[in-house]
């Protein structure tokens, strides 16, 4: 068995402080500490409280990445404090680290935030099994291993909120459900026992639903449990088409428009895609389009260079399509 050598280095911490009862504005306190390669971020929070300032407030409970309460931000990156090793943080950001709550604008006291919006969104996606199961069953309600795999680990989410407060859309569009809620919705949509008819429709609704996700993949990058909310979002899109609940709107036409374009040209017809997606609303794009046209950035449909061997592409579309809209 090899024994890793424990190393120590000096780290300067800039720590967010705020007490909504007495402060108008937040401020930052500096601490310099010797940090060992064995420590996790939560150890640092503990040491600030125990060695420096007993009034420093943060949430922790399990210390094993299970309760989901200790998520904060280090240099702007959401992390689960009890799971994230300090050596990784130093490797990422160097020896000057800024410790902040998941969302500074929701801060109540130091690292503690009001997670109300997170729970509201969570509740909005019917995060439980809707099934007509006999209350006194005579045998087990079995789910095959194959069907259970469909959940794709979505059931391992600990509701830590790291992804939700890393999502740029959550901050811009207050209706947006956010990645954790989508992962929860997927968890039940993928469950063979579930018979809810409304959830998938709700998460495909404009403004609040998956179509407003900008595909930045921040959620997948931060998730400490490897849930990959982004791929769950993709699956919710696909389910909406498969189950026939996708509405005919600019977002769905935009997705389907790619297929039409590829069928015709192999490559994308950019102008044609916007026209197909927007319909008559295309007029709002005219000023930008004109500007682009003047700069030689618009290729007319008849000038688009189609893919070579287009017949192959068309044949594959015929044989490999799995969805109809």
């Amino acid at each position: 068995m090899s024994i890793n050598k424990i190393s120590t280095q000096k780290v300067n911490f800039k720590v967010f402080r705020f007490n909504s009862d007495v402060d108008y504005l937040p401020y930052y306190e500096d601490y310099t500490m010797d940090v060992t390669s064995e420590e996790v971020v939560l150890d640092i929070l503990n040491r600030i409280k125990w060695d420096h300032d007993g009034s420093f407030s943060y949430r922790r409970s399990c210390r094993h990445g299970i309760c989901g309460i200790c998520a904060i931000k280090v240099n702007g990156r959401s992390t689960l404090a009890c799971k994230e090793s300090m050596s990784t943080m130093i490797e990422y950001f160097g020896n000057d680290l800024t410790i902040e709550p998941l969302s500074t604008k929701r801060a109540v006291k130091d690292m503690i935030i009001d997670k109300g919006d997170f729970w509201e969104k969570h509740a909005a996606v019917t995060p439980y099994l809707v099934a007509d199961i006999d209350e006194c069953p005579s045998c087990e309600n079995l789910v095959s291993p194959h069907d259970a795999e469909e959940l794709d680990d979505a059931d391992l989410c600990i509701q830590c909120g790291a992804c939700h407060y890393a999502c740029p859309v959550v901050e811009i569009n207050s209706d947006f459900f956010g990645p954790a809620a989508f992962a929860a919705a997927y968890r039940f949509e993928a469950d063979v026992r579930d018979s809810d008819g409304q959830r998938l429709i709700d998460v495909n609704e404009e403004k609040q639903g998956v179509w407003d996700c900008v595909k930045c993949i921040e959620c997948t990058e931060v998730c400490p449990k490897g849930i990959d909310p982004f791929s769950k979002i993709t699956k919710l899109h696909q389910m909406a088409f498969k189950k026939g609940v996708a509405k005919n709107n600019v977002a769905t036409r935009h997705a389907v428009g790619f297929l039409h374009s590829i069928k015709r040209n192999g490559v994308l017809d950019e102008g044609g895609l916007v026209l197909y997606s927007e319909g008559v609303s295309i007029v709002k794009h005219i000023p930008v389009a004109l500007q682009m046209f003047r700069k030689g950035k618009i290729v007319m449909p008849w000038n688009i260079v189609k893919s070579d061997n287009l017949d192959e592409i068309q044949k594959l579309i015929k044989s490999s399509s799995t969805v109809k809209f």
């Binding site: 900008v214 595909k215 600019v250 490559v267 994308l268 950019e270 930008v288 070579d308 490999s320 799995t322």
Partner: protein, 293 residues
């Protein structure tokens, strides 16, 4: 050094709304003596939108594109972040899952093709860094960009998900503290600008269905670069470029202030430093005025 040779997946944008990107890619390749074999058989990658509609079909089409690179026995080079994501994601999923690969190959066989998994898929930015070397670029610079503060805009689909992206190139990239584009700016003699939005999203993909969200993201990125004294921005992705370069009016409205900076494609920036002409680099196609030429 052995002459570098790649199979080029241009994507659709470089052939349509960003002709300057295609021109500058070829100009830079000529300067660096890199041979690019264009995959003219390739289809669109689906841009993550076809993926929302029909997952299997998008796998088949992307596998077909890669199969053509494999036929040449070459690494596939992409010049669009989103092409990179979708193509590398296809490769990753097929290489990890023999059953899925077999199902895809069953379809490809109908047109006499096979996906083997023998070609690497990498973005031109990383091909340059990994295979050509920034030191060599530095030596070849004839007109350093030393008078400029240049803000790198990485674009999500080249850096996230990092687990996938770091399979595609040797020089590891940290999505929270990326350095490749910064290093390239420095190699071209410019001063790299650090700002909060450099690894954030530009909003391009929801421009039609969520225009306000998209405009706020693009506007904040340009504002962030401006507030940190950038003279211009540079990006490896034609989609980021479209968003930042052609949509300044809606971006400005969304953030409540006038925002507008010249935005170069990474290839245009390299080309300038290597002494390519404005015409070769297609600078006249950039919408936001290139005010320093």
């Amino acid at each position: 050094m052995k002459k570098l040779k790649y199979a080029l997946f241009t994507g659709c944008t470089a052939k349509q709304s960003t002709p300057e990107q295609m021109m500058s890619t070829m100009a830079v390749a000529r300067k660096l003596n890199i041979e690019l074999i264009e995959l003219t058989e390739a289809s669109c990658c689906g841009a993550s939108h076809l993926q929302d509609y029909d997952d299997f079909l998008s796998l088949v089409l992307n596998a077909r594109n890669i199969a053509y690179a494999e036929k040449h026995g070459l690494t596939m080079v992409t010049i669009c972040n989103t092409c990179q994501l979708n193509t590398a994601m296809t490769k990753h999923r097929l290489d990890k899952n023999p059953e899925l690969k077999a199902r895809v190959n069953e379809k490809l066989a109908e047109v006499g093709l096979e996906y083997k998994g023998t070609s690497l898929v990498t973005h031109f930015l990383y091909a340059i860094i990994d295979d050509f070397g920034l030191d060599k670029i530095k030596e070849m610079v004839v007109k350093p960009l030393s008078q400029f503060n240049i803000a790198p805009f990485y674009g999500c689909h080249n850096i996230r998900p990092s687990e996938l992206q770091n399979e595609s190139h040797k020089t590891p990239e940290n999505p929270y503290n990326p350095t490749s584009l910064d290093d390239l700016i420095i190699a071209c003699g410019g001063k790299n600008v650090d700002y909060e939005q450099k690894n954030k999203c530009c909003g391009f993909h929801v421009e039609l269905q969520a225009p306000h969200t998209a405009a706020v993201l693009a506007g904040s990125a340009i504002a962030g670069a401006t507030d940190n004294n950038a003279d211009m921005m540079v990006t490896p992705c034609p989609l980021c470029h479209l968003k930042l370069d052609t949509q300044t009016k809606s971006s400005s409205e969304a953030v409540g202030r006038e925002v507008s900076l010249p935005v170069l494609h990474m290839q245009q920036m390299i080309g300038l430093a290597l002494g390519c002409s404005a015409a070769e680099l297609g600078l006249k196609h950039n919408v936001t005025e290139i005010n320093f030429l």
